[in-house]
């Protein structure tokens, strides 16, 4: 088992290396550079040249990549070309507010999905089941973006009860203030995630419920509750864990809809604007970080399978 985990680990490292090389190439193949002459502004070609020189961006690509790699091994991820500050610092500034929103939304949505999914699956075709199915279908079909704007129009404009943008009122920032700002984006995110998860949970449980061994334990006269907790849930857990684990990386890369519609100060928009602006060190670091998260999530899912399902051991 340890051997197979080690092998997985080595594979992961190789993948990360491949991702960094591919990102580096793709990034430099894209047209433009961070201080590209903008014809709309007063500009100074010699200053641009000196700027590129000072940041070693005039070196051949291979040597740029190797120097980046060697710095990464020493734990130095470089400075943002736009902000002139360490990339790690910039990530650390934006991550807490992102996690506050995404992790809360993830936990709430998963919890609700499991509770309601079980409830619906065990009462298949009841009115509640149908209601849950319709609701999740609606949740998947309605674009988050639109839903967010509708909420803003309703609760920030027509009935101005809640703030529409930001993490807090500048100058306030008390817990209550943050919670009030969080309410709408959280609701939109929970609704979207819940709609996804609940379908998985429901179908995973239905799958197990229709298995022969469940019929067998039922025929032995076990109580429904006991059947559910001892036999159905452990067997339905694998697909649920998979979907949950695979959503983990997304928690760290931001919540674009919330960040755009509700102006939530997260990491996602920053990643996109940095990419648009060809902020090379940011692009490299963020890609490496995202790839590591995905790899870690897969790793975690595998480890959890080992724990839960004896067959995978």
């Amino acid at each position: 088992m340890i051997l197979s985990l080690l092998r997985r680990f080595a594979q992961t490292l190789l993948v990360l290396f491949g991702v960094s090389a591919a990102t580096f190439l793709a990034m430099h193949a894209a047209p433009g550079h961070p201080l590209q002459a903008n014809p709309e502004l007063r500009l100074d070609p010699t200053a641009v040249e000196r700027w590129l020189q000072l940041r070693q961006l005039d070196q051949p690509l291979l040597s740029q990549y190797l120097s980046w790699l060697s710095r990464v091994f020493r734990g130095d991820f470089g400075d943002s070309l736009l902000y002139n500050r360490p990339v790690v610092e910039l990530i650390a500034e934006r991550l807490p507010s992102t996690l506050l929103l995404t992790v809360t939304a993830f936990c709430l949505a998963l919890f609700l999905a499991i509770v309601i999914g079980i409830y619906a699956a065990t009462r298949q075709n009841s009115w509640l089941d149908r209601f849950v199915c319709t609701l999740s279908l609606a949740g998947i079909s309605v674009p988050n973006f639109w839903f967010g704007i509708v909420l803003i129009i309703l609760f920030a404009y027509r009935f101005p009860l809640l703030p529409s943008v930001g993490l807090r009122t500048p100058g306030d920032g008390s817990l209550l203030d943050i919670l009030r700002h969080m309410l709408m984006p959280l609701f939109v995110m929970v609704a979207g995630n819940f709609a996804h998860y609940v379908r998985y949970v429901r179908s995973a449980i239905l799958d197990v419920l229709n298995q022969d061994y469940i019929r067998a334990v039922r025929s032995r006269g076990l109580q429904e509750k006991e059947i559910l907790y001892r036999h159905v849930l452990p067997n339905a857990a694998i697909p649920i864990i998979t979907i949950a684990a695979l959503s983990l990386p997304r928690l760290f890369t931001g919540a674009m809809v919330a960040e755009y519609v509700f102006g939530w100060p997260g990491i996602g928009r920053w990643i996109i604007t940095s990419t648009m602006a060809r902020d090379y060190p940011v692009i490299m670091t963020v890609n490496l970080y995202t790839a590591s998260l995905v790899a870690m999530a897969n790793f975690l899912a595998d480890a959890l399978y080992l724990l839960i399902d004896p067959r995978t051991r």
Partner: protein, 533 residues
């Protein structure tokens, strides 16, 4: 279940009614919207509009230009004098100008800032306009120390508040180029110029001299500035200004309508103006800008039909600018037919527009030998006015047998295509200086001549025009040069858009400058709610 529901409802009500008053600050507060946050607070490395806007709050300019006439006006320099030789200026600094750490702002700071700008490792945008200072180019080439030490031969400190600046040749726009802000020499003279942009000063701005001082910068949320009690033009009336980053305009509007924002600057959409004007709590302000949009023609490729002047003239006959202003800008702009802006003193009001004459355009096109012609027009994502201009042009061109293919590009890809000349036509914007100096963009040797435009006569006229400070003579020369440029059709000028700002109606003395939103911010005032009718 029911109990949980009740608790939820109660919690919700608590959120909704929760504490709304500000606790951490005292005095009046003004909330200004921005689409993005600044990259730097260092006044000599401004490259993006948010940083430039914030700089207007934190840093005083040496000189300003009049928001209407663009004539140079005193600010940190309270007066100046041009000596007989037409090369030497003597500037006097404001008596009360001081840094926020109590040190006086002196001519040593001015001399230091000029050395930084002329240093070989300086990578901001300010060197080009200041290269006319005697010794500036020599310093850039020969200075060896990583710090901005030594001196510029053209800059002589007379005393703490008087400095003499000598130019290498007469350069009339010089005063209009002194609108930048100084750095504190006593803090930064030990810093290598190459490290200056990344220095903590650019982020923390512990010391500055503007109307406001940095209080707090939440990197992804807002910049909070507080009135500078020792500002040399008097302490501003409004105590706090929050510059909030709100990435989408709908949210900005809702915040404004909900009374949580006081200014949406510059880019209020013209289609929203009518509704906003009906709201008694909101005022709309407009001012002209020093930016124009134009259609760039790539005539550099030898095999292109666009190398033929007649074809370019055909293009110039297609677009009705008045229609663009009326239908796309809803009147919030002015048509433009040449490189001089209506705000410039040299602007020629009597200049007539080219006639829009499709039949004549068709005849000229056939005469040039292009009965059929295919061209590619590029523009950038996210500018609906440019998009509609492109469509309008395509339609008009189709009616005379010219096919224009429209390509929409992401911003960086668009810039790359423009810089590499990989296009036939492009719709671009261009920022111009307060001085009408046409040599910046149209002199064949100028670094700002991005279209590689070349006309000997224009070179001569524009070079001559900067040697005299007589407005009447300069006007004459620039108008001649403008006529020549227009005749060559290197581009087709479209319009100057107005900056449209929506503000809280209680905001008084808000008079934005074409180059600076926070112009004279120390005079702004928020009337209390009882004062307003």
């Amino acid at each position: 279940m029911r109990r949980i529901l009740v608790i939820f409802i109660l919690l919700f009500m608590l959120f909704c009614t929760g504490c709304q008053q500000e606790t951490a600050t005292s005095g009046q507060s003004l909330h200004v919207a921005a689409l993005t946050g600044p990259l730097t607070l260092n006044p000599v490395f401004l490259r993006d509009s948010a940083s430039a806007e914030i700089a207007g709050l934190l840093h005083p300019q040496l000189l300003v230009t009049d928001p209407k006439t663009l004539a140079p006006q005193p600010r940190l320099f309270t007066s100046w004098q041009l000596l007989e030789d037409k090369l030497t200026y003597i500037f006097t600094l404001h008596e009360d100008a001081c840094w926020s750490d109590g040190k006086p702002l002196t001519t040593e700071d001015i001399a230091f800032t000029l050395r930084v700008i002329c240093h070989p490792d300086y990578t901001g945008w300010l060197f080009l306009p200041l290269r006319y200072i005697a010794g500036a180019e020599g310093y850039k080439q020969e200075h060896r120390s990583p710090q901005a030490t030594g001196e510029l031969s053209g800059v002589t400190i007379i005393d703490e508040k008087k400095v003499q600046i000598r130019l290498k040749e007469p350069y009339a726009p010089f005063l209009a180029m002194l609108t930048f802000s100084p750095l504190p020499a006593h803090l930064l003279q030990e810093v290598a110029v190459a490290d200056l942009e990344a220095d903590a000063y650019s982020q923390e701005l512990t010391v500055s001299a503007g109307p406001y001082l940095l209080a707090d910068w939440q990197r992804a949320e807002y910049v909070h500035v507080r009135a500078n009690p020792n500002y040399f033009l008097g302490q501003p009336d409004i105590e706090n200004i929050y510059y909030r980053f709100i990435p989408n305009q709908e949210a900005q509007l809702i915040e404004l309508l909900a009374g949580k924002l006081d200014i949406i600057p510059t880019a209020v959409r013209v289609e929203d103006i009518k509704t906003l004007k009906q709201n008694p709590d909101i005022a709309i302000h407009t001012n002209p800008r020093l930016v124009y949009d134009y259609l760039v023609i790539n005539s550099q490729q030898a095999d292109s039909a666009l190398a033929d002047k007649k074809v370019r003239q055909v293009l110039a006959m297609l677009l009705d600018r008045d229609e663009v202003i009326k239908n796309l800008l809803l009147g919030y702009g002015e048509p433009l037919y040449g490189p001089l802006l209506p705000m410039h003193f040299a602007y020629n009001e009597t200049r007539k527009a080219e006639k829009v004459d499709l039949a004549a355009a068709r005849r000229l096109l056939v005469e040039a030998g292009y009965a059929e012609l295919k061209l590619t027009l590029i523009y950038n994502v996210g500018n609906t006015v440019r998009e509609n201009v492109a469509l309008m042009l395509k339609e008009k061109a189709a009616s005379i047998g010219m096919e224009i293919k429209i390509e929409l590009l992401e911003w960086e890809a668009f810039l790359a295509a423009v810089n590499e000349g990989d296009y036939d036509l492009a719709i671009l914007g261009r920022g111009v200086e307060a001085d009408p100096d046409l040599s910046v963009h149209w002199h064949s040797q100028s670094p700002g001549n991005s279209l590689a435009y070349h006309n000997e006569e224009v070179d001569q006229l524009t070079a001559e025009a900067v040697t005299t400070s007589e407005h009447s003579q300069r006007t004459l020369l620039y108008r001649q040069a403008e006529e020549l440029i227009i005749k060559d059709v290197p581009a087709i000028w479209l319009y100057v858009r107005q900056a449209v700002h929506a503000t809280n109606a209680r905001l008084e003395n808000f008079k934005p400058h074409p180059d600076s939103l926070f112009f004279n911010v120390h005079e702004w005032r928020l009337a209390s709610e009882e004062e307003t009718p």
